[in-house]
């Protein structure tokens, strides 16, 4: 081994994010002191981001199976069967820390990374979604971060050529020092042509494809596994730089060599770059890997083995090719102007050997690098349950109409048009429902099948009650898909939490995960891929627990999807699901009453299923002319959104006498939908619902140009729309 590498000292070990006991583990595993390069490799493989050392033990409890699941967690992305030979490949991943330090590049590389995960498996990406959490609007950095992240998400997806069709944008002071950028990609593949990471066969060439390796992103994954402090901006050099053009070429070249049947195994170089991808290919295939770094295409001269092994330069892939197809594959890559180099071979040794300039820089047991990573069952405590807030004890500070006008223009509930109009959401010509609805709908090839896609979570519920919040996130994703007429099939989860070494944070994680598991099981909505992002803290203050749920559902006929816009005047408006008026943790309580308090609404999964199945049936039968799930802001906000989307108003009956009016209209009880049906069918529908044991009542009639509750001031749809659309652009222009 080369002698000019730094000496291994306790300080050097610590600066690699490895704890003393973890270093002991390394010594025991290899029986000697590691080289500098080896230390770097261990730090890359054993950080939280890559090893899931704090979360693995709990992730095992997630339901991951269903007859339609082709590939669950553990590969680049999850794969489900949607029939007719089609498979949908999807995953969501975070790029939180880089996006806070360098919002544009952080967001672009987040999108780039997740797209690569999807096309690595042989799928052509057909849609992207994202979930963005920013600090309070009044925080001095927020505007800059929103502007940079949105431009970055758009900058990558627009150029790559995939429609960004949906997502979430939220603001909360708990994200002031640690924003969240969660990107989801969805691709379409042939069910019998899925590509995996496991290498097979000894002495097979390992090929490096794509962009050259530079010094960017070194230790990116380690940064993503540490808390932030005031000096975090100094970590800017660890942020990678995205090149969507290179990725587009990589996509086309990869799909072409896959179609030409050249590929045995493929793995993208994401977190921890060459290290992680090479180890995974070998370990999954029960093989060793010999890498020759002299063959790696580099962007700059003089790069050390350490730097090459840890670089997170983007738009790179590693493949094992069929030897007889090597020339054909190379010609395809050259045609697309991409680098192609044989950088190693598979070996029978089960060792991971890295050579550079004639020296062996690393020689490690390949399986143990992954399998023997530390595994922690960290202590966790559940927080005391929050008090249930009785609706009758909440005094309404303002009238219903005034509250609605105010709520619809809050950062939480206002239109996010300013954001999604910067994303190309129509490219590929398959977008049936654009952003702004409950779920996006995209056509599958020439149809008639369609996909319903959504991302959802309500972090304030998760904070107040992790178990209920975890269930609610899954239930709401399920409901969003249902509300457009889709059959929910599977989810990807992106679990964003604070420092797992603090028992209360670990308690949030464990609680949310339990809730997610329970909801997935009952709703038959398994987890097929995901990502865990911990240490989302700055100066010891954690984010709201934010387990983003990306849901995928299928429609047998996309022309039978429902949208939330009212379709005509004179139609009956039906409320499906039970309304008690749950104000705890509601947007009303927070933004109108100034109280961020109480227990969140409980989730009744049996009711979710019963009510959702009924709504989906009505959409399929063509009975429901519009449908919308009721979530943040409650019933009246849902109705306002349906009115704003159509320009058609509604005449509403007064709240039932048994309820507290402001709780009836703004409570956030779960498992509820608003649907409209032609007036003459209302009686029949109500009778049917009664028979099925589903709460359903007629609450009004569409028509006019205002939302008018009996006995209350009417609010014109035009003024609601104005408030709804105004906040975001005004804020970004510095006027709100």
């Amino acid at each position: 081994m080369r002698s000019n590498e730094p000496k291994i000292t306790p300080e050097l070990v610590a600066s690699h994010g490895l704890k003393p006991d973890e270093y002991e583990r390394i010594l025991k595993l290899i029986g000697r002191e590691p080289t500098f390069t080896e230390l770097g490799i261990f730090s890359a493989m054993w950080n939280e981001h890559c090893s899931y050392k704090s979360s693995r033990i709990h992730l095992r409890g997630l339901p991951t199976k269903a007859p339609w699941v082709i590939q669950g967690p553990g590969e680049n992305a999850g794969v489900i069967d949607i029939g007719d030979g089609h498979a949908v490949v999807f995953k969501m991943e975070s790029h939180n820390h880089p996006s806070y330090i360098e919002p544009y590049q952080g967001a672009t590389t987040g999108v780039g990374g997740i797209l690569r995960d999807v096309f690595t498996m042989g799928a052509r990406p057909i849609a992207c979604l994202n979930a963005l959490s920013f600090g309070a609007p009044e925080h001095p950095k927020t505007r800059h971060l929103v502007s940079g992240v949105v431009a970055g998400v758009g900058g990558y997806g627009n150029s790559f050529g995939v429609p960004t069709v949906g997502g979430q944008v939220r603001f909360h002071t708990r994200y002031d020092g640690n924003i969240l950028v969660n990107a989801m990609a969805v691709g379409l593949a042939s069910a019998d042509k899925i590509f995996y990471a496991a290498a097979s066969g000894v002495n097979m060439p390992i090929v490096y494809l794509g962009s050259k390796t530079g010094r960017d992103g070194i230790h990116g994954a380690s940064m993503a596994s540490a808390e932030f402090d005031d000096d975090s901006a100094e970590k800017r050099p660890t942020v990678q730089v995205g090149d969507p053009f290179a990725e587009k070429l990589l996509l086309e070249a990869c799909l072409e060599i896959m179609a030409a049947d050249c590929v045995i195994a493929i793995q993208d170089m994401g977190a921890a770059g060459l290290t992680c991808s090479a180890v995974e290919m070998g370990a999954k295939g029960d093989l060793g890997v010999d890498l020759n770094l002299d063959a790696v295409p580099t962007r700059e001269t003089g790069m050390s083995a350490y730097e090459m092994m840890l670089s997170e330069s983007q738009e790179r892939m590693l493949m094992v090719l069929k030897p007889e197809k090597e020339k054909e594959a190379e010609a395809i890559f050259r045609k697309w102007g991409l680098d192609f180099a044989v950088v190693g071979y598979t070996t029978p040794s089960k060792r991971f050997r890295v050579k550079h300039g004639g020296d062996v820089m690393a020689d490690l047991p390949i399986k143990e690098l992954g399998d023997e990573a530390p595994l922690y069952d960290r202590p966790h405590v559940a927080q005391p349950a929050r008090a249930v807030i009785a609706a009758r004890e909440v005094e309404p500070p303002i009238g219903l109409a005034e509250a609605l006008q105010k709520l619809i223009a809050t950062p939480e509930l206002c239109s996010k048009r300013w954001v999604w109009e910067q994303y190309d959401h129509v490219i590929l010509g398959n977008t049936v429902q654009r952003p702004g609805g409950d779920a996006a709908v995209v056509r599958v090839e020439d149809g008639p099948k369609g996909l319903a896609l959504t991302v959802d979570v309500t972090p304030r519920y998760c904070e107040a009650d992790p178990y209920q919040g975890g269930m609610q996130a899954v239930a709401e994703a399920w409901r969003n898909i249902t509300a457009v007429g889709g059959r929910p099939l599977a989810i990807t989860d992106n679990l964003n939490f604070g420092n797992p070494e603090r028992p209360e944070i670990m308690g949030q994680f464990v609680g949310c995960l339990k809730g997610i598991s329970e909801a997935c099981r009952v709703l038959d909505f398994p987890v097929v891929s995901g990502n865990v992002s911990l240490y989302n803290e700055t100066n010891g203050r954690g984010i709201l627990p934010t387990p983003s749920i990306g849901g995928v559902g299928v429609l047998d006929d996309f022309t039978k999807s429902a949208s939330l816009a009212f379709k005509a005047g004179g139609e009956a408006i039906l409320l499906i699901g039970e309304t008690q008026g749950w104000l705890g943790q509601s947007v009303y309580l927070r933004d109108i009453c100034g109280r961020e308090e109480g227990a969140p609404p409980p989730v009744d999964l049996a009711a979710e299923k019963r009510n959702g199945d009924v709504v989906r049936g009505m959409i399929r039968a063509g009975t429901a002319t519009a449908a919308h799930d009721i979530s943040d802001g409650g019933l009246l906000v849902a109705l306002a959104e349906m009115a704003i989307a159509s320009g058609i108003g509604a005449q509403l009956l007064a709240a039932p006498a048994s309820t507290v009016p402001h709780a009836f209209w703004f409570g956030e009880d779960q498992a509820r939908y608003v649907v409209t049906v032609p007036a003459e069918q209302a009686g029949l529908v109500l009778a049917k619902m009664k028979g099925a044991g589903v709460h359903c009542s007629r609450i009004g009639t569409t028509g006019g140009d205002a939302i008018a509750i009996a006995g209350e001031d009417a609010l014109s749809v035009a003024s609601l729309k104005d408030g709804f659309e105004s906040w975001f652009p005004a804020y970004m222009a510095g006027k709100a």
Binding site: A151, N158, D243, P244, F245, K248, Q422, V426, I427, T559
Partner: protein, 233 residues
């Protein structure tokens, strides 16, 4: 109608365009790689589609405009062949010298994807015969650099010769600054060459040709081209 769609590295709306062309003409479209030096025999229409050729690096369209296939397109256009450039295609045609002017960064400095309204300025051209003069159509835009600019002399000529075919307008056809989505000179969305056989436009008619897209106003452009070719044949 036999059409050829050019494919440069980084182009990403070639499939959308091929689908729209097939819908209108019933024929498969030839996809022509940028390194080719000739167009398929019997080509009636060359389309330079949208996307980010060469990543929009250097200047939008600048690198693609210097591709081998563009020499063939220049010859084709010189003989009167019909050429349609959409979005990045418009930028490429300007950079290639087939159309005057340049597409600058949007006035509000942001990428914009939304439906816009266009006023058809005249209907007596192959590119607009599917519409009526004065008709307003709705099609999406998706660009960051669609702000058309040219020197005063050029703009005067374009207007004087009736070469502005599409202009940004409101839903009821009013052309004003409010409807001018990207700040383009004279609200220009699409222009033709002096001879009238090369059209460049920023909006995407190919993304509004089926009911599922929420609107079919883009069909007129393709239907008009097919009708023009049928008459010529």
């Amino acid at each position: 109608m036999k059409s050829a769609v050019l494919v440069f590295p980084g182009i990403n709306r070639e499939r959308d365009m091929a689908r729209a062309l097939k819908l209108a003409s019933g024929n498969e479209t030839a996809m022509v790689w940028h390194a080719e030096t000739s167009l398929p025999g019997g080509t009636d229409l060359v389309v330079v589609p949208g996307g980010f050729s060469y990543g929009d690096y250097l200047r939008c369209g600048a690198i693609a405009a210097r591709s081998p296939v563009m020499d063939a397109v220049r010859d084709f256009a010189a003989k009167g062949g019909l050429v349609l450039g959409v979005c990045n295609g418009f930028q490429i045609l300007c950079e290639a010298g087939l159309l005057p002017g340049v597409l600058m960064r949007n006035a509000r400095l942001k990428f914009i994807c939304k439906d816009v309204h266009l006023r058809i300025e005249r209907s007596d051209t192959p590119f607009t015969r599917g519409y009526n003069a004065g008709q307003v159509i709705r099609v999406p835009v998706a660009h960051g650099e669609g702000n058309y600019e040219a020197d005063e002399e050029t703009l005067k000529r374009l207007e004087g010769e009736g070469r502005v075919l599409y202009r940004y307008c409101s839903a009821d056809g009013v052309v004003d600054e409010h409807a001018n989505i990207n700040g383009a000179a004279h609200s220009i969305a699409g222009i033709v060459s002096e001879r009238g056989n090369v059209l460049g436009m920023m909006p995407h008619p190919e993304n509004h040709v089926e009911d599922i897209m929420g609107c079919t106003d883009g069909r007129g452009l393709f239907a008009g081209l097919v009708a023009h070719m049928d008459r010529a044949a």
